[in-house]
């Protein structure tokens, strides 16, 4: 597994973050380390094992369609980096 600089740039673009050249190099190396580590899983023999999306065998955990109002609305708004009265305030993001 090897992550190229181009792939790092693409992920940065998708994540809307600006990286310096140094950071691109550094993150490429780190990402490759992570992937190499996970790569060890490929040593397992999974012949005949059904693919799964979860480790725990549980399904259909659901709730009733019953309404309740969250009490601490102010807390939610205050928790954001910025607010403008009743709104969350975010930097304007141009499309694309």
């Amino acid at each position: 597994m090897s992550i190229s600089l181009d792939e790092v740039r693409k992920v940065a673009l998708l994540s809307r973050i600006a990286l310096t050249d140094d950071e691109e190099e550094r993150f490429a190396a780190q990402l490759n380390d992570i992937l190499d580590y996970v790569e060890q899983l490929n040593e397992l023999d999974v012949e005949g094992v059904e693919p799964t999306t979860r480790a725990i065998d549980v399904s259909n955990v659901m709730r009733q369609d019953a309404h309740s109002t969250y009490e601490n609305r102010e807390g939610l708004l205050n928790n954001a980096p910025d607010r403008d009265e009743d709104f969350f305030k975010v930097p304007k993001i141009l499309n694309g």
Binding site: L14, T53, L76, D86
Partner: protein, 494 residues
């Protein structure tokens, strides 16, 4: 003499629709906040829909029920095992930076619906449109305002009331071939979800939103043309007009090269009646779906599926077909009545109570619909029961009252209800169908108007209507119209 004009290239249009239906639950798909439209900003928010650390989403069981019912109504196979996935994109309408949706194991797949297009002459054409899939997902919030603050930096304000509101996304096969077909498909989807009672279908409020994928290619060409997506239509007419505009633009681009067709998203500009490019940088989206680790998979047992299937009402396509085949209605009448479930059910109750189907259809779509429109009311607001309307129709068919009298007493019946028969008797509105009684009245009308009689006999036969009017006036409209005509004809000849 013939001049060989260059053969005009024929084009084939390929259209598919993605329809988002907001499911009419009380609460959000994964949390207890309300879904009500039009609330003050950020009053329906909670730590789960905002994706705060340490919170866990839990599926609203009504969302699953509605999605399965919709899937069944669209003739889909319901997945016995289904799951949610994360769709990643970075945009401030999404508090978590990912949307919880379904990717490779949607709840329903491989369905179809039947649409019916009625032309101006009243001829109906039916067409089967494939439904690729239906999946559950959460809606995003809304960027409501943008501005520049004191320090000069541009900002947006976000309202997350809509974030986490449950949606069913329905994807059609590329089986649609015109703006009219696409608009009719969208109408049929709305009818179905409204019949099911799972979505109010209000396009102005965004409870039903359609995105269109469209390409054109010369007839005979194997490869599809370049696909363009159009968004931002807020009515069925706008869907049709946006598509018709886009077909023309794409054909023109292919023929003249004045414009290019690139794979992109375009917005329908209602003011300008055109589509405009929403230039987006290439490669800026790549959703990197992966299974949502915070939610369990969904299993729908055969028993559960059948229990929900048993709760489905008769659907619009079945009703349209039945009204035409069994009740002998025209395609036009069937389509008008079936458009709204309450209207269809009221009409059926009138027929069940013994009224002639064609007459019942006329009353429901004619005078009653007109009254409801003027008074801004619905069928639920009127006092005239289906049984009483059937009785009223019966009074006309058996000659007790004329159609004119029936129309006159209709507003009272709609507002006060009660038996039309009793009302007719109380007010002495029973039709005069006794020949000798009528003859005397008609003779008097003739005797009272010697000038008109003279003119009539001199050839001004249009005056016959004048005499009918006189008779109706003398009887307050109670004269049997058919008999009046017969006797009048005889007496006028002298």
């Amino acid at each position: 003499m013939t001049t060989a004009a260059p053969a005009k290239t024929e084009y084939e249009v390929i259209i598919g629709l993605e329809t988002h239906c907001q499911l009419g639950t009380e609460t959000k798909i994964f949390s207890d906040s309300a879904t009500e439209f039009g609330a003050d900003p950020n009053t329906h928010i909670d730590p789960v829909c905002l994706g705060l650390p340490g919170t866990l989403p839990v599926l609203n069981q009504t969302v699953l029920e509605y999605a399965v019912k919709a899937g069944l109504a669209l003739n889909c196979a319901i997945a016995p095992y289904s799951k949610f996935d994360r769709k990643q994109y970075f945009y401030p309408d999404l508090p978590k930076n990912y949307q919880i949706s379904q990717y490779d194991l949607p709840i329903a797949e491989h369905g179809h619906i039947e649409i019916e297009l009625v032309d101006k002459k009243g001829n109906a054409t039916r067409k089967k449109i494939g439904v690729t899939r239906l999946h559950m997902e959460e809606d995003a919030g809304k960027l409501v305002h943008a501005g520049t603050d004191m320090s000069g930096s541009a900002y947006s304000l976000v309202d997350y009331n809509r974030a986490g509101v449950p949606l069913a996304e329905i994807v059609s096969e590329p089986d649609l071939r015109s703006g009219a077909e696409a608009a009719e498909y969208a109408r049929e989807i709305r009818r179905i979800v409204r019949y099911l009672g799972i979505c109010d279908g209000n396009m102005q409020e965004g409870s039903l939103r359609c995105d269109v994928n469209i390409s054109v290619r010369p007839v005979g060409q194997k490869e599809f043309g370049t696909k363009v997506e159009i968004k931002n239509m807020n009515s069925f007419n706008a869907i049709q007009r946006a598509i018709d505009y886009e077909i023309e633009r794409q054909i023109d681009a292919l023929e003249t090269g004045n414009d290019t067709i690139v794979q992109e998203t375009r917005l329908w500009d209602e003011g300008g009646q055109r589509t405009i490019s929403m230039r987006s940088k290439e490669g800026s989206s790549d959703y990197r779906y992966f299974p949502e680790p915070d939610l369990t998979p969904i299993e729908v047992s055969a028993d559960q599926r059948e229990a929900w299937a048993a709760e489905l009402p008769e659907l619009p396509a079945a009703k349209r077909s039945r009204y035409q085949t069994d009740l002998g209605l025209s395609a036009y009448d069937a389509n008008v009545l079936v458009d709204d479930r309450t209207t269809a059910e009221y009409f059926e109750a009138v027929v069940t109570a013994g009224a002639d189907a064609k007459l019942a259809a006329n009353w429901v779509q004619g005078d009653i619909a007109g009254y409801l429109k003027n008074e801004k009311k619905t069928l639920n607001d009127i006092a005239l029961t289906a049984e009483n309307l059937a009785e009223l129709i019966g009074l006309i068919t058996d000659g007790t009252i004329s159609g004119k009298i029936a129309k006159e007493i209709l507003p009272d019946l709609l507002e006060q209800g009660g038996s039309p028969k009793t009302l007719v008797e109380e007010r002495g509105l029973v039709q005069i169908s006794d020949a000798s009684e009528l003859e005397a009245i008609i003779q008097k009308a003739i005797d009272d108007n010697p000038n008109q009689l003279e003119q009539f006999r001199a050839g001004k036969t249009k005056l016959r209507g004048f005499f009918v009017g006189q008779v109706m006036k003398a009887t307050q409209g109670k004269a049997d119209p058919k008999l009046t005509n017969q006797i009048l004809g005889k007496l006028l000849q002298g």
